[in-house]
Structure formats: structure tokens, C-alpha cells
Symmetry: C2
Subunit: 267 residues, 2 copies
């Protein structure tokens, strides 16, 4: 199991204009790989705010920090300068990132998506990485992702357009994460019970205390007139192998089902 | 204009199981009332993590802090004890909150939603508020929201079930926010331009510098084969009246349209 923090960057999120689905995708993606996401923060396109969050995260020392947003060509895409500032490193143009950009713009020109593939200053800006940063190719858009191996933490900067972020996560990032953090697994089951949360609370408490390696959570259903309350209970666990995680959750689910039946609840 | 921070509490978010739509709702809700949301944080159901975030937010001293989640009857609903700890105040059973709970459970019993309205210890737990806390009725579920007027900051704790959170925000909270923070307005327009972000960047930069009271942002469209790049530009502004905010954005949009037309771009 590794620990992770996520930093989502973009004014449009805090203005309530855009729903942040990136951190949801990343929470699921990292959990499935054995990661425990401890914190998600959303901040505006403000270099001081971004740098302060990166510094705060580095102090807590998770195994992984992922940022999303702010890698594009416009002036308010400020993630890489802010990360450089937080790390006390200069920004340098990466020949490898520049080559990726050249290749992508040539492809986009050939596909009729752009009319001119010249690396103008705004496009070229996307190749300026914090010193030591390694670019990862963007199979969907243009801005390369950036990977930084720090003393205790792997820092990964992903673009904010969801298709680009997912394209990199499902593409070049998968192998890099496995190399750096190993592989882990997470499994989950859920049960539905016709009861209120307050009624089930004592049973779930006892169960959670006797099963410290399984995470049990109840989710209150919506209150609807003339319908009995329903609670969804989820059980989840990490494991070194998929079979271990699945087995752990499977056994716990059966035990909880029996405990609930013993107390007179149908599942 | 007032400043705000949002704290979202719940393991299910960080496990990637549930998409956090609450902070999106709150970002929009607060922006529309003249609020500037500076930060959203998502943390697990861990009292230390919650208390640390509340303390951090109080140090930054925004006008408003809103928490969502962790107010229910189960043992992992820890927001109020954590807030009490962060404020250095004891938890006390509020007779007003207890009366709200009694009334709600009686209503739910009458509606056939529950079979027994007894205030069991888990139900009664929801009436234990940080000292000085004022309960707000929950028109949808059971847990009252809690309002705390601190020296510089209004702290509001809302439940995590979206319908309950929205019911309180659109109900009893509206008036309280207006009383405490005044009324403000925010308006927005958007334009679409057939161009890449990098190409528009210099025009938008110049425009943003000469219009400091309007926030201009470009949103890169999805890259699709055989389709020209499209950028959506949003302009938004705050105002003391709705008319002032609308007028500010309307004028800026017309000016930007002219600037883009002058540079050969159709909008």
C-alpha cells in the first residue's frame, strides 16, 4: 500500500463552473493500484497557492503527489513554475519535452486539427519543466505530463483536460507507477439493508473493531415518503495480490451478513 | 465579496467510490452570492485530519468555512467532535437540536419511513454540538446543520447526503448567509472561438491586464481528428448588485469580441 495526495488546479472548479471529475478518476485509479489517497485539494490558478499546497504535501511526505491542471500554453497555466518554486529548482527547457511537442503538433497538422505546427512561444512554454523533471507523452492533447522523483515522494503533474489526464494515466503513467510504487490491489463489496443508519450503528461498530484490515462504511439512503429507510454498506480491503484483497473482502462480507441476520436484518 | 473555504469529509470520496458533487454545488452557490471560494479540501473520516484542516482554514481567516459530511448517527461521523477539538471547545447537547431531532423523527414515523421514533443514543448523538453552535433544521434528513459565529469567520457544518445539504443551503442557510456576509452577485458569459489556446493566448493576456475587474479564462476543447480546435472563453465578474455584475461582464464580452474580430477570429 502506498499513500497519495491529489492537487487539482483551476479557477473554473472553484467558481463552480466545472465539476471536478479528475480527482474522482484519480482516487479510483490510485485505490485500485493499492494507493491510499489521504487528501484532495482544489486551488485556483494562483502560483502562491499552488506552491504552498505542494510544500505542505511534501512536508507530510506521501509516497505520491499527483497534480492535475495548469500545464497548457496560456499564461494562467502556472503549475510547473509553481512546482519549481516549491522545490527551489529552476525551470529549464527540456529537449525531450520539446521533441514530444514537435511530434504532437506535426501529427495534429497532418490530421487537419491545426493549420500551422510552428512551436510558437506559448506552445514552447509547455517544454519548460522543473529541473530534473521527466516528460511523459500526451497521447490525446499536447502538454506533456511531468514526473519528478524526489527524496521520499514521486511527484506527477498531469494536464487538466479529463481525456488528456486519463490518456496519460491509462498510458505511459501505469508502468511508471508500478516501477516506483510496486503493485497492490483493492477489492470492494456492498450490501443493502432495510434499516436506518442509527439502528445498524452498534452492529457495524462491533464488526469494524473485530476486522481492522477491512474498511466498513454505511451510506444513508435518501429519505422518501412511504418507503422504509435503506442503508448501503460497503466493505473494502487492500491486498498484495488481487486474490488476497478479494478473499479478505469476501470473507468479511459473509461474516457481516451472518451478524446482520443474527440481529434480525435481511440483506 | 466574501472569501470562503470548503471542507468535504468522507472516506468514500477518497476511495473513488463517490464523486464529490457537494463542493461543486457549494462553489456555485457561494459564487452566485458574491463569494470567492479559495480552496476546497477533501479529507477522510479521521478526526485528526479534519481538525487539522479546520485549524489551517481558521488561520487563513476566510469569512466563511463550510464543511460537508460526517454529521450522521454512526461512529465514523466525526465532524462535530473534530470541529470542537479544533476550536478548543467542548461538545454539549443542544436542547434546540434535540427538539429538531424529536420533531423530525416524529414526522418520519408519521410518514411511514421509520418504525420507531425513539431518540436512541446514535440519534441523540446528532444533538451534541460544539459549544456556542446553533442548529439549523434539516428539511430532508435528520441531522441538523450547525452554525458557529467565530471572531473573523462564520463556520457552517452541513450534512454530506447531497439532497440534505442542498435542502439546508436553499432553505434556512440562505437568510443566515445574507445576514452574516451581506449580499453580492456574480455574472458570467462565454464565447466560442475556432482556434487553439496557444494562438489566442497573447490577445487574452492583453485583455486580462486591461480588465482587472473581470476574470477571463480559456478552456481548451477536446482534440478531435479532422476538426479544428475550439476554445471556450468565459468572462465573469462580481458586483454589489446583480445589474452591476451583469453590466460589467456584458461590456467586457463586447470588447473582447471586438478585439478578437480585429485579430481575425470569428466568435
Amino acid at each position: 500500500m502506498f499513500t497519495a495526495e491529489i492537487l487539482v488546479i483551476g479557477n473554473e472548479i472553484l467558481l463552480g463552473e466545472v465539476l471536478d471529475t479528475n480527482s474522482h478518476f484519480l482516487c479510483r485509479y490510485l485505490t485500485e493500484r493499492g494507493g491510499q489517497v489521504r487528501r484532495v485539494v482544489e486551488v485556483p490558478d494562483d502560483p502562491e497557492a499552488i506552491a504552498a499546497e505542494v510544500r505542505g504535501a511534501l512536508e507530510r511526505g506521501p509516497d505520491l503527489i499527483v497534480t492535475t491542471g495548469g500545464l497548457g500554453p496560456t499564461e494562467d497555466d502556472l503549475t510547473l513554475p509553481a512546482v519549481a518554486q516549491a522545490l527551489g529548482r529552476p525551470l529549464r527547457e527540456s529537449p525531450q519535452a520539446l521533441a514530444m511537442l514537435e511530434r504532437r503538433y506535426a501529427e495534429l497538422l497532418a490530421q487537419g486539427i491545426i493549420a500551422d505546427a510552428t512551436l510558437t512561444p506559448p506552445r514552447r512554454k509547455m517544454a519548460r519543466l522543473p529541473e530534473g523533471g521527466e516528460p511523459l507523452p500526451n497521447p490525446v492533447g499536447t502538454a506533456p505530463a511531468v514526473l519528478l522523483r524526489l527524496e521520499r515522494t514521486l511527484l506527477v503533474c498531469l494536464p487538466g483536460v479529463p481525456e488528456e489526464m486519463e490518456g496519460i494515466a491509462q498510458g505511459p503513467l501505469r508502468e511508471r507507477l508500478a516501477q516506483a510504487l510496486g503493485t497492490g490491489y483493492h477489492a470492494q463489496r456492498s450490501l443493502r439493508v432495510q434499516a436506518g443508519e442509527a439502528t445498524l450503528s452498534p452492529i457495524l461498530q462491533t464488526f469494524a473493531r473485530t476486522h481492522p484490515d477491512v474498511y466498513v462504511k454505511s451510506h444513508a439512503g435518501r429519505v422518501r415518503p412511504n418507503a422504509r429507510l435503506e442503508v448501503r454498506i460497503t466493505l473494502s480491503a487492500y491486498g498484495d495480490t488481487e486474490a488476497e484483497a478479494e478473499d479478505r473482502v469476501q470473507k468479511a462480507t459473509e461474516e457481516l451478513r451472518r451478524a446482520l441476520a443474527g440481529a434480525g436484518f435481511e440483506t
